[in-house]
């Protein structure tokens, strides 16, 4: 599923709003999710899951081509933890994974 298919799904369940409004709503939701994480703020969505930042310690990496050591600074990366209901429902799903 891509962003445009997500917009289509919402439109089909919400026919009285113009598609343009739904596109703006999706854009706004994604912007707010990104901004919260960029500010180090957790996101908690009931029935879906939570997003938080994980810290990766500074380390010496390697240039995979040359093998040269490269110093990598510590950084924060976004992490998603599925909520219990989503996790348990997905866990037992028998539908084959689709190649979109």
């Amino acid at each position: 599923m891509t962003r445009s298919q997500l917009i289509e799904y919402i439109s089909q369940h919400y026919r009285h709003l113009p598609q343009q409004d739904i596109e703006l709503a999706v854009k706004t939701i994604l912007e707010h999710l990104g901004t919260a994480l960029a500010q180090g703020r957790r996101i908690e969505i009931r029935g879906f899951g939570s997003f938080s930042l994980h810290y990766h310690k500074p380390r010496i990496g390697r240039n995979p081509k040359t093998g040269e050591p490269v110093a990598l600074a510590g950084r924060f990366v976004p992490h998603f933890k599925p909520g219990k209901s989503l996790r348990t429902q997905i866990e037992k799903s028998g539908v084959p994974i689709q190649e979109n």
Partner: protein, 107 residues
């Protein structure tokens, strides 16, 4: 956002609905329903075995895991972990770059 104990709190669906209402002028009831539909759409796709790719944000991918041996950490007893499907989230380049600039305290 500050919660009842005065601590900075997590972003929730209520905050997202308030943003749709405040920034786009969509009424409060519709804003709540749109936020619910947004997450329902992602959930439904994942239930149906579809990965979800939101280019500016990230990808929700599905992986099938085989059964593997596990242990009850309390008793040390060996119990198999059954085969299952899991969701993995890979943040997109744009989100990674934005978060990379965050210089807050380590969690």
């Amino acid at each position: 956002m500050v919660d009842s104990e005065g601590k900075s709190s997590a972003l929730t669906k209520a905050n997202l609905a308030a943003a749709l209402n405040g920034e786009l002028g969509i009424n409060k009831r519709e804003s709540r329903e749109l936020v619910d539909l947004f997450f329902d759409a992602i959930k439904t796709a994942l239930f149906d075995g579809h990965c979800v790719h939101l280019s500016s944000f990230g990808n929700f991918d599905l992986r099938d895991k085989n059964q593997r041996p596990g242990r009850n950490p309390k008793t040390g007893e060996e119990i198999p972990i059954s085969a299952r499907r899991v969701i993995t989230f890979h943040p997109g380049q744009k989100l990674r770059t934005r978060v990379d600039g965050y210089a807050g305290s380590r969690e």
